[in-house]
Each structure stands twice: as structure tokens, then as C-alpha cells.
Subunit: 473 residues, 2 copies
């Protein structure tokens, strides 16, 4: 897509509620039916109809059990607990759509690259190249304990392992099966047995590293994108370095435009150091939108939703994300940065020595009285479109992960009211191609596989890199 | 289902070919389009229409690389190589059907029970309780090498680990969330915050074992069956003991009725020792069927299919299954039993000291000139139904895993020609319930959850066992 177009992702989780704390109790919300396939198929249809670029399904590998030292409040309030597997939704979502990209969070910490590479290859095959992987390294202590570790692996060590994990995956995806390895010749007089794959074009990868030893070859044949589009959200220094190296789409969080912009600029600068093109990475931030035909109606709906907002639920989530139990915290005192073994970026976001702005806990959790630690735009379609354009301009970002206050309602409203206004302004495409694009083609207007400046390209075959060089835009 | 009805599963793999070696080259076959979601959705529709009880998708975690000391022949011939992930197909298959059960092979050797339990809970939620797990311990050396092990874990040790794996999974599925833990109360004046799950009814499992340490609780809320229907195919002494303890449906292989019957009787006897009811386990065997309106047409089709049969492909598969490289073997010499670290049952099947029958390799691979190491029935609908009834009677089995010679053609033919004849004989149900059943209800005519004599019941709550006690039939 042209740089002028806003990337539009829907942001959710296979859970009772995602960051719309308490809203599962609102009659308009259907997301809490997360264990019902019909809900998900309906959601895919709504997003396809609305022309969303992708749905992005977050994940964690444990109940949120930091707040109050246990999972009681997260269970009571349905805050990302219980939580079902997102990866297993993908083929159903792919079956219910033709154009919609589908991104899923999977942690590298508890997977083997040989098997995870096959999973993404399979999903990319089944979706016709519409899959993205949000790479995380898992910050939850509760996940570590349930997966056989005494405690979570150290933060930077997790990223070292993730780096090598991706190298192995790149070798399997890019450097094992040549493009013409699958011959699928059913046979002839000259070759009576036929030839499915030419073994001379399927290569062992012979990886011997610090964390992994994988002789290969890749077990599955190449998918349209070979490498899923890579999402990442690292905000710590080590996480930013990782994102700068591998990510194609970076998810930046926060409600403070200047803080978000600093994060974006830091990662862009690091990406240049990694030898990547200036536009190699696209940035999206999570936002909430409450829109209605008139401002008065929008404000009335917002007030209605706010009555269901669960401030304690927000604190339960924030405690788990930061590894700090805020159950006894003074919500009106300024947040101080505290280094934990969990996600270091979140506290940094609100207590940035360079930022010059100090937040209280209450402000951080519901900026300007909004939802889910994000900016919330409330108004008629024109006001929302204005607000979004200003926000993207101020933050230097390329698009949004739209959270749902209620689902699929928030996505339906956005599709019906905001998308036409964005199309009118040339910020969303007016139509879509007859033949569906892969997600990478859709986001970057380029080839289905990673471009030459991406580290995955180093592991591809010579002719592959050559193909990618002709990268338009 | 009543004992008089024949269990009807479709047997396949997410691969170019399964046990229909060489048939991917036949124009009727579509299974080699395994990377195309439309193929799978079409298959689910065919099986739903034909009233199949379940589709059962096999898996392995490595290329077949025993024959000739490498994967060249398996790739050339498309023999289960390349191979994509089957678990990721399930939600799409569930979305394309309402009644069809969906069973998938997953190995315990490379998974963590905490995460695999969530995967099956998720799929059982999304399918409305139609999921089965075929438990394997992985015999392929190539999988072990790619997953960080020097070599495959010893055979019996794999089963010891699998036993504990299931214990952990039972605790998570059955002993963590009480039935009324999910309250989903949206709130009232008396309870203004609402209550999603009652934490007092969500229990830590506190498992500390030899292989796993899982404090719990289970991260996902219970699914309709709680425990997927458990399939198993163990044929070695240790595998038979495992099946007798855990399996609800056992897959017995072989083309020799007396040999199959001995295997069935051994497992039934072992199941009694484990305290399970005589009918606690149902047995199915793989068979191939080539049916047409007349015998002459069926024989002509069979001859046509046989022209595409790839005998070397069969040997490639058999080498991988047994861990013995048969590339230089004399196909007309009798098979001798040889203990390997791989699947011990397959060679035993054909060189059974008690069986009194000795097979050559050629006979074992294509019994009576059929397909895929199974019995093949060729004829008009009445002859096929007669043959199947005789086979079930002679083997003491309860149903079949129908392999495809071509897919979906073999399933379409069976549905159109054989199923009506089986219905006429009272061996298949004439209709189906308005409201879909869970797979366990469908197969056993009983409750959706495991019955009281199953080891999973020991880990359930007292009231659960009481509910299951009222097990009809």
C-alpha cells in the first residue's frame, strides 16, 4: 500500500476481554463468546467487509496472577483470563475471508524453531499468504513455572535465544526448499514414476548454534510468503534492537504522542544501523474509537461504555505486564521506573527521564478517561478521522491497531462510519484487487517475500534475492 | 452409537499422499493439494454429507529418511514428505461441518502438557466438543535430531513420559475448573462488578512429577468434552498397556484377521486389568475400499488405480515406520522380527511367533494386491458391505478408518454407494440428531466427558464422576 494509506488492523485476543476491561458485561459485546467459533467467523466477515488489513490476536501463556499475588481478580473480572489458543483460530478465520491478514502472537521461549516454522508455513499455505507472526519472548512468570522452569529466563537471554530462533526459522523457510523444488510432475513415458519434489533442490540447513541444533531440511514445502510478516512490540533497549533487526511492522504502545514518536525514531535509527531501508518498518499504535453519526451520539455512547469500564481490571493487566503488584499502589502518585524481569518497556513509557512528563497510575491506565492504556477518539466520523490523522502525524506512525470497546460492534462502527471518510481523504484504498494479495504485498506494495535488506533474505537462494530486488514503491 | 453400528472414520494426512502411495499422480486425486484450504473445506463437506463419524489426520515430525539413508525417495515420491501441520487444520474443518468429529495425531515427546492441554481445550471449544487426540510418542529419529536431541528417547521411556503427560493433562482438563466456575454474571445491584469466573472454583493442580512440574491452574475454561476423545495405536507390549489404560478408540493395523483379533483381545484383557468396562475401548482398523455400482466396474477401477500404485513408496514408508532401511531388502524373503527403537509393532505384526503365518515384504506392503498395508475391498456395494461385516466379525473390531485411494473420490464413492447399504443393514445410523452431539456422545452413546472407569475420571470433581455414572448402553 502507498505510504499515504493508513494501516488498519483489528486488535483482539482469544479471551473474555482483551484491553476493554469490564466491557464484556455490556450487552453489545460479543467478544466474551471467545469459545464459540461462530463468533470468530462473524468477526472475520465483519473485518473482511470493512477492508481491514489484518486482525492481530494477542496471546500470553499464563493467567494474569501478579495483582494481589494470584489470579483471583483476573478470573473474577475476565481480564485475559481464561485465555484460549489464538494460533488454532487462524485456519477458520482464513476460511471465512479472502483478503484479511491474520497475525498471531507466539512466544519463542517455549517453542522449537523446527516445529514453529512448520506451523507458520502451514498457516501461510492455508491462508494463501496472509499470515503474520507477532514475535514475543514471554514475560509471565506464571508461564515459566507451568512450563518446567524455576523462573522466567532472564530478559536479555530470552532475546538472544529469540535471535537464534529466527535465524533457524529463516534458514528453514528461505534456505531449504528452492522455488522449483516442487515439480509435481505426474509422470510421462520418460519419467514413469513422476516426480513430486526434486531432492537435489531440498537442502539440509545444518544449523549448529548456542541454543539450537537443527540439521533440517524444512519438513513442509514453501508457502506463498515463505516468511510470515513479522510483527514485534519490543520497547526495552534489547527489544528495540531486536525489532530493528527483524520486525516489518512494529506495534508501539502509549497515549503520549511525544513518547511514541521517540520510540519510533529510536527503532528507525537502529534499523538503519542494521542496514535496512528507511521504510522497511511500518509502525502502528493501539487506539480506541467510539464513533457515531453525530458528536452528541458518540459522547453518549462513550459515557455508556465508560460506565462498564473496570479500572481494577486495568490494574490487574498492568500488574501482570510489568511484573509489579499494584494492588496496594497509590493510583494518584507518579509512576517511577522500576526494572523487572518482565516487560521493561511499559513502566519506562510512563517514567521516561527524557520525556519530561510524569504520569500517575490512574492517568496511565486510562489516558484522558479512555480505554486500555491507549488514545481514545470519540466523535463523529470527521472528528475521528481528523484525530487519527493528527495522531499519526504527531507520532510518526503508519497505522493503527484498533482495539474493541465492544466486539464486533467497535469494528462495525469503524467500518461503516470512519473507513468511508478515510477513503474520501485518500487514506484507505477505495477498492481491492480481484485476486487477493499476500499480506506482505498488501502492507508494502512489494514482493510476497522479505526484501533484500531484511535478514531473512540472507538465508534465501541467490535467485530469490534477485527477485526481491525489484521492489517497487 | 449402538454397538451394532460400524464406526466410520476417514483417514488422511496433511501431505501429498498418505498411504495411497503413488496415487497423487492419478487425475482423480485431489489430496496432493494439501496446502490448499479449499481442498480441506471440500473434504469436510464430503465427509459431513456422508455422515462419517470423524476424520482422523495422522502426523509425523520429520521427513521419512530411513530408506536409503535419506529423504530423497520420500520427497521424489511424495510419501508423507513434505508434511504440513494437521492441528492447524482443525478450526477450518470445524467451521465447514456441524457433526463431523476431528481427530489429530500429536506427539507427547516434544510438547509441554500445560500448552497442549490448552490447544485441545481450544479446539474442543471451537468445534463444540468434536475433537479427538491420537496420542503418539514419535518414533522418527529425524524428528529427534531436529528437536535438539542426540537421538530418539528410548521407546519405553517415551511411554513413561507419555503416562505422566496424560496425568498432567487430566488434572488440567478435569481437576482445575469446576463445572460452575464460569458464572458469566454481567452484574446487578448486588454484584455491580459482575463475576466472570469464581476463583474459589478454579483450582491449582500442583503437579510435581518425574518429568513435569505444573502448578496450574488450567489457563482455559472447560470445553464441552473437557478431555478430547483419546485415540491410540500402540502395538508394542508397552504401547498396548498404554492404550489399555488411556485409549477410548484404538487403531489396529494389519491385513491378517487373526493377527488383528489377537491384538484386540490382548488390549481388551489389559483394559480389564486396568479396571475398565468391557466396551470401554472401541477398535477400528484401516481399510481401503474401491466400490462401483457393479463388480466389473469396481474391478476395472481397481486395476486403473493399481497402475499408479508405487511399491517403492510403500517401502519408503515402511522403512521409516520400522526404523529399518529396506532399500536393499529381498522383498520375497519372509520378514523376521527385529527390535528397533522405533515402532515395534509393525514388524511384530508380520512375524508373530504365535501367529503361525509368515509374510514376505511384498505381501506385507500390499496384502492381496491392495493398498497401504491394509485390507482392500473391491466390488459392488453389497459385496463391499458383506466384506466389511465379515472383516469386523473376524477381527472383533468396531469400525474402520477408511483410507483414500484418491481423495475425496474414495470418500464420495463410499458415502454414495456403501453407506446406504450399511444403513439398510442397520450398521449405520439412518439420520442424525438435530443438535450435533459431541464426538464422545456420538461414539459411545454416553456422556460428553470420560466415563467413571477412565483414568481421567479420577482427576475430576466428585460431582463429575457422579454425572458420568449414569452412563447408558
Amino acid at each position: 500500500m502507498p505510504k499515504s494509506e493508513i494501516i488498519l488492523n483489528a486488535f483482539t485476543m482469544n479471551a473474555v476481554s482483551h484491553v476493554n476491561y469490564g466491557l464484556w458485561r455490556h450487552d453489545e459485546d460479543q467478544a466474551f463468546r471467545h469459545d464459540d467459533l461462530d463468533y470468530w467467523i462473524g468477526l472475520a466477515e465483519v473485518l473482511e467487509e470493512g477492508g481491514f488489513d489484518a486482525v492481530f490476536i494477542a496471546d500470553a501463556l499464563g493467567l494474569l496472577d501478579t495483582y494481589g499475588g494470584g489470579a483471583a481478580e483476573s478470573l473474577r473480572r475476565g481480564v485475559q483470563s481464561p485465555l484460549s489458543d489464538p494460533l488454532l483460530l487462524v485456519s477458520a478465520l482464513a476460511g471465512a475471508s479472502r483478503h484479511l491478514g491474520i497475525g498471531v502472537t507466539v512466544s519463542t521461549t517455549y517453542e522449537q524453531p523446527y516445529l514453529l516454522a512448520r506451523k507458520f508455513t502451514t498457516l501461510d499455505q492455508l491462508s494463501g499468504g496472509r499470515v503474520a507472526w507477532n514475535i514475543v519472548t514471554s514475560q509471565l512468570e506464571s508461564a515459566a513455572r507451568n512450563l518446567g522452569l524455576e523462573r522466567q529466563v532472564d530478559h536479555d537471554e530470552r532475546y538472544d535465544r529469540a535471535d537464534e530462533f529466527l535465524t533457524v526459522a529463516y534458514k528453514l523457510w528461505q534456505g531449504s526448499w528452492e522455488d522449483d523444488a516442487v515439480v509435481a510432475d505426474k509422470g510421462s513415458a520418460a519419467r514413469p514414476d513422476g516426480l513430486y519434489a526434486d531432492p537435489a533442490r531440498v537442502h539440509a540447513i545444518d544449523h549448529h548454534g548456542r541454543f539450537f541444533r537443527v540439521p533440517g531440511p524444512h519438513i513442509a514445502q514453501p508457502s506463498p510468503q515463505r516468511v510470515p510478516v513479522l510483527f514485534q512490540a519490543g520497547g526495552s533497549p534489547r527489544g528495540q534492537r531486536f525489532a530493528a533487526r527483524h520486525a516489518e511492522l512494529v506495534f508501539v504502545a502509549g497515549a503520549d504522542a511525544a513518547g511514541v514518536r521517540r520510540n519510533v525514531e529510536t527503532i528507525r535509527a537502529l534499523a538503519r544501523e542494521e542496514g535496512r531501508a528507511p521504510d522497511a518498518i511500518r509502525f502502528v499504535s493501539a487506539v480506541a474509537v467510539v464513533v457515531a453519526p453525530t458528536r452528541a451520539e458518540a459522547e453518549s455512547r462513550f459515557a455508556d461504555y465508560r460506565r462498564f469500564y473496570d479500572a481494577t481490571g486495568a490494574l490487574v493487566h498492568y500488574s501482570a505486564s510489568t511484573g509489579v503488584d499494584f494492588s496496594d499502589a497509590d493510583q494518584d502518585a507518579p509512576i517511577r521506573y522500576l526494572e523487572t524481569n518482565s516487560n521493561r518497556s511499559l513502566l519506562r513509557m510512563f517514567d521516561d527521564p527524557d520525556g519530561g512528563r510524569s504520569w500517575t497510575l490512574r492517568q496511565a491506565l486510562a489516558p484522558e478517561g479512555g480505554f486500555g492504556r491507549t488514545r481514545t477518539f470519540v466523535g463523529d466520523p470527521i472528528a475521528v478521522a481528523d484525530g487519527l490523522e493528527d495522531w499519526l502525524e504527531a507520532t510518526g506512525t503508519d497505522g493503527i491497531n484498533l482495539i474493541h470497546v465492544v466486539s464486533p460492534g467497535s469494528f462495525v462502527d469503524f467500518s461503516r462510519l470512519v473507513v468511508p471518510e478515510l477513503i474520501r481523504r485518500g487514506r484507505r484504498p477505495a477498492g481491492r484487487p480481484e485476486v487477493p494479495l499476500t499480506l506482505r504485498e498488501r502492507l508494502f506494495g512489494a514482493a510476497p517475500r522479505p526484501p533484500v535488506d531484511h535478514p531473512a533474505a540472507r538465508h534465501g537462494f541467490p535467485h530469490r534475492a534477485a527477485t526481491s530486488e525489484a521492489r517497487p514503491e
